[in-house]
Assembly symmetry: C2
Homo-oligomer: 496 residues x 2
Amino acid sequence: MQAYLELEARKKRVAALNNAMGILQWDQATMMPDGAAPARASTLAELSVMVHEMETGSALSDLIERAESESGQLDSWQRANLREIKHQFTHANAMPAALVEKLVLAQSESEMTWRQARARNDFKSLAPKLDTLFALKREEAEVKASVMGVTPYEALLDQFDPGRREVQVDAIFDDLEQFLPGFVQQVMEKQAQQPRAVMPAGPFPVAQQMALSHEVMRILGFPFERGRLDTAHHPFSGGADGDIRITTRYDESDFTRSLMAVIHETGHALYEDGRPAKWLGQPVGNSRGMTLHESQSLLLEMQAARSEEFIRFILPTIRRLLGGSGPAWEPGNILRLYRRVEPGLIRVFADEVTYPLHVILRYRLEKAILADELRTDDLPLAWNDMMEQLVGIRPTDDRDGVMQDVHWPEGIFGYFPTYSLGAMAAAQLFAAAKRDDADILPGLGRGDVSPLFDWLDRNIRSQGCLFMPDELIANATGAELGTAAFKASIRQRYLE
Amino acid sequence: MQAYLELEARKKRVAALNNAMGILQWDQATMMPDGAAPARASTLAELSVMVHEMETGSALSDLIERAESESGQLDSWQRANLREIKHQFTHANAMPAALVEKLVLAQSESEMTWRQARARNDFKSLAPKLDTLFALKREEAEVKASVMGVTPYEALLDQFDPGRREVQVDAIFDDLEQFLPGFVQQVMEKQAQQPRAVMPAGPFPVAQQMALSHEVMRILGFPFERGRLDTAHHPFSGGADGDIRITTRYDESDFTRSLMAVIHETGHALYEDGRPAKWLGQPVGNSRGMTLHESQSLLLEMQAARSEEFIRFILPTIRRLLGGSGPAWEPGNILRLYRRVEPGLIRVFADEVTYPLHVILRYRLEKAILADELRTDDLPLAWNDMMEQLVGIRPTDDRDGVMQDVHWPEGIFGYFPTYSLGAMAAAQLFAAAKRDDADILPGLGRGDVSPLFDWLDRNIRSQGCLFMPDELIANATGAELGTAAFKASIRQRYLE
């Protein structure tokens, strides 16, 4: 197994570079002085090129082939590691260097243009940059598809959710598209008959919100000895192996946004922290793609923390730390507040019921773009029409329409589905966990996450990339990924 | 000049790794959660090995040789860059990989043992670790000396102060050893006739000291758009090209320590920030060794900031931000406070007059260790004898004697002289600057550092490694590095 061990040594080195980049990116978003941006971009670019070189080439290809011929000597984790090494190689090596370079340039230009175009509501200035970028993404998708034997869209999706097929996504999204609009209608009607949820009145000083964030993270078992919380423009979970850095931002008029962001990112962080220690630095020790990652953040944010049990437990803490009093702070109102459904134009502000509709729209449009069935100039109209059809509201400008997300201007295709596939997985995993351990909900009611986390550690976090995403979900829940648990969970929460 | 350009490309990559390590090390000292220490150590070790590999080997040696044959096509900066590239190669390539590995291990063991041995005042437990380490350092010094054609001590000194010769250091230190003890006596006698300097009474809350640090840094032109100040166990200046991170620590009973540390580190930071932008990432764009670096921090701390002009200018700001009032805050007392000479046992607390005596002691002893003329077991006695002879006080335990510094347990030999050579250079540069521009002292009196900084930018900061350290000093001051300016400056400050 000499060839295999040589691969492990190479991957250890790649991991050191990735860990360094993880901290540099966190620093860039939280600590770095603005004027250091060009120098930092150049350092990160150089390290990325080094990683790319270490992930490609015929020497590596030969080594993988030799390791595969030794696979009888490998145990199951080593075999899975070899499969993941080959998967990374396939993605990296499929890309001609010239295409990589053109993509980096086109992404950077299009993203910079997007920042200004969005502020000025000026899609026309963005369109030619997108057009160039989309053409390159089509080339990437086709090149990879031919190597991997999948459809072009699947080739991009596979980077974020390995092994995922279009037919699976179509089945889940078709189902949701059928179900959700009528369901939203029902919920709105029920909501209309109830007292209107009232937002507790601020301001909520940042220092108090920070204290609340830390206290909630403590209750949720965030490992502060191996991680920290800071402030950034956007909430994210990052850092390095064994050193998890999460961020949030604070709005003094609304404490719930930051609180929910912190819970969401804590879910991501606990997944990272719970990976098999022995395999950190090797591909098999990674988290199992973005659908699974999102399942862990949404399970905490949408399933566990929004359970009636947890809200009743945490409310006194929130009131104590923020000094809240009055009718807006009564449990009944807070529960209604957290279960408000309201169709809107902006994905990142959407509630969990309408959120998948935003994702379905993007999924359909990005497939059309990749298939060259939709001209870039026609994108705003297509967006607005589909938004009206799916969500029932029509954007009045492109800022709140096609230009709201950074993903396409950054050349990120095939990522959007994982948000909603993650929501499906979160509901399915939470249902399975509750079925396996009846103390999970009562635990949340007393602020004890250990029953839930024991289950997650055993079934998800400790598994790394031992299995493919679908196997992992099926092993944990006894079923294929589907919509049933999600539908049941929102029915129970919003209609019962 | 293809070979030369290939060398530049390689160095750009090494710089990216060094910049990444600079930020990782800063993060480790300021932000990193404690539990991430093992993971961070492993990442830094892997990146260091990568750098070492990129700095050595026959391919690089060939490339340097080819570039040297093209040197007719290179301009003066490129030629200097090639000289520096070769210098780095010589140091790195001289070391057999096995020796590097043994040294890393021995340094780590000896430094860990030192932490505990120092706390317990137990030199006996440290001695065997030092013994092993010293033997390896002797091996390193001899290996490098034979490649470089210098003495073993010079081979180590050369890493920190390229081109420096023992005979130069001996001349300067012999001179100081002759001069300082009698001078200290004179100053002590004069001090005894003056009112005793009184320390302003605290406590000085950390938040107020932080505000003062930032205000003083602003006055001194610290580039906050490309740098920041944070808190760490020890003051240092670090970070990356174009991104200067300095640190300090706060003592609520004594604001002067933190303030002086901040000014000192700002001096280091301004040197880093003032290097030639075009050459950042190439060896010729680096600062010109530790003697020059220390000259820049000490010039700011000991020459500029302790001038009567600057102290009178800054005092109202200090009083305003710290709320100071009463006789201890009168300019006369503050000036006396900053010009107090008091022989002591601890180098880092020493005043500028007795400081060189501490360095001379270390210089003599580390030369004896390297020459194998002093047994490790005899080191404490030799230390105490020499301390008594040079400074006039005898340590009562090894904690305040031979175990006070981390340098030897970390395997750092040849570094100590640069502290005092830097002090000589600081005085010499400041004298030359004042001679060249009569507005420098009046500028400091009105809080305007631009006359001084224009001179430093032109003569030192912008010069990178275009010249060797001695040439740089001679170009700037018209004289070789010596003791005259230092002696004149302390005579003027302490006796006039």
